[in-house]
Amino acid sequence: MPNVSVKILLFATFREKYHLKELMVECDGSLRGLIESASKILGEEFLNDVYEKERGKIREDIIFMVNGRNIKDLKGNIELKDSDVIAIFPPLAGG
């Protein structure tokens, strides 16, 4: 299992709920591994907030970005690298 160290940034209601702007997480480089590692720090609820266990995917209704790119726009399997920055937003809008 490769060990990578990435940064997670939390925004809006996530920031408020977890009283945290950012955290460093060590994981195996997969998105699931990342969420599980983060849940060990933030609590089980975080996993439910961002991950759909049944489908084994990041929740459809949140905005999940890796290095500024929404994972919905990234093709293929996502392998995280050291120093990657993950930004997580609840559904939001403005104008």
Binding site: A12, T13, I63, G68, R69, K72, P91, A93, G94, G95
Partner: protein, 610 residues
Amino acid sequence: MGKILKVDLTAGTLRSEPLQEEVAKKYLGGKGYAVYLLYKYLKEYEAKGILPADIDPLGPENVLIFATGPGTGVPGFPCSGRYHAMALRSPLTGSVGSANSGGEWGAFLKFSGYDMIVIEGAAEDPVYLSIIDGSAELRSAKDLWGKNVFDTCRILAKRVGGKNVSVACIGPAGENLVNMACIMNDEHRAAGRTGLGAVMGSKRLKAIVVSGEKEVPVANPEEFKEISKRCLENMRKNRVTGEGLPMYGTSILINIINTAGALPYKNWQSGVNPNADKISGETLAATYLIRRRACWGCTIGCGRVTRVPSGPFQILESEGPEYESIWALGSATGVNELDAIVKANHYCDEFGMDPISLGSTIAAAMELNERGYVPKEDLQGLDLRFGNAAALVEAVWRTAYKVGFGKYLALGSKKLCEIYGHPELSMSVKGLEMPAYDPRAVKGIGLEYATANRGGCHVTGYTISTEILGIPEKIDPLTPEGKAKWVKIFQDFTCVVNSTVNCLFATFALGVKDYAELLSAVTGWSLSENDILKIGERIYNLERVILNRLGFDGKDDILPGRLLKEPMPEGPAKGHIVELEKMKEEYYRLRGWVNGVPTAEKLKELEIEL
């Protein structure tokens, strides 16, 4: 059918005309009906031998329209307290003037007995228009001239008294013919863009106060009740309109747009602002936010009531700043102090100026100055450098009063940059400063900026919704592929929204089908989704015809060179430029336009009679 109040300020006369059902069926109301009327004026002028190019935006021949639509002021019609304002020509762009505002004024105009107001001519001395319970008159505004927006609103509301009173007015910026002056209403709400406040100022019309209790008709009330209930429920349940916007307001966008590398920084030299979080919606909520405020008939309530309790930028109570104003007054200028941005935004409201155009013009001046293009004697000690918060705040009031360097800023960035020999530093399209999304990182919005009828505008074709936010579906912001289709759909649908007239933010939860059903129930006409999109397309095309007559065509559907030639220097869009020509070609094809001009076949298809 409702009524139009026609006011000739030169003659000092008022007359009432009925709305025409056949026009409303083709153009709905609000913006659509106003576009129809503006085109008629243009034709009448041409028949009299007055060429479109001869119409002085600040002359008595310009026409100013305030318009509501079939949804405005209907209890239960989502977010329907708004109005749309238009002018034949904008002093900032020379093209059509167009802007939209919330608050209560739109609904209360309807309660006063009128659906629309058309202002012709110019008064000799300052006047205000009073419309109370169906009776309209012009009164002297000599005592109000020179007063700021807040005082004007309070004095007139008190003078009229009672409930359902609302004031739309100009501040000193409008009186002083500042090119980015807005029409303000209910103190902090603005028909902000394209300088309509200066048009009002040129007519020496200080304010319009409206009041009344007239019921707004609904053709099929039972049916409407059901549809309205469903729509409002959907809006409450929707996590954007029911949670995100109420909790954080529009400025929640600062961080996500910056993360996507699309938050223009220091006059668009980059799309990444290293200090974005300091001026974000999250920071505003944790610092200066007191409570939220909703416009009339709105269940979302995105408005922010704010206070800066101490320090040099202290403010007892203000509203905003919004995402756009924080960006323009903050990120575009490199200013990271949120309290200074709140103050600068407060001054924009107090004096009546568009923070997007003003912030961008100040940012352009900062770049001109840092590159050594502005003589010291012009600046008179105003230290316009990126990040200088004190200079930002000073520049705002100087612009409103055209004092010192303010007289150059008051022209807008296009003319300012031309004066100093560097037009390429104006981040504008058709003379209108672009808003807070760098299209090198969000390609579709670049096509919208280039082709938007009113100039560099995001809200007439808000592709950010799909490219960044994933509403109604997620598409990749970094590809130009498939964007033309979305820009056209958003532009046409937004014409429907602005002719309804209700708030664009309702569309984060409601779709074309909901609008078709709501409008059918209110008007009693049977409108399908296709019908309303066709109405939207018709409005967009007729507005484009007016632009063409004013001399605008494909050569003006462009973007500043910086976005086409200078690759984004950093962030997720690093190396990207905007592939405009490619998108534009497809867009014109979908629109049935040649070089920015609708073809005769297209106009025929849309039943537009010229």
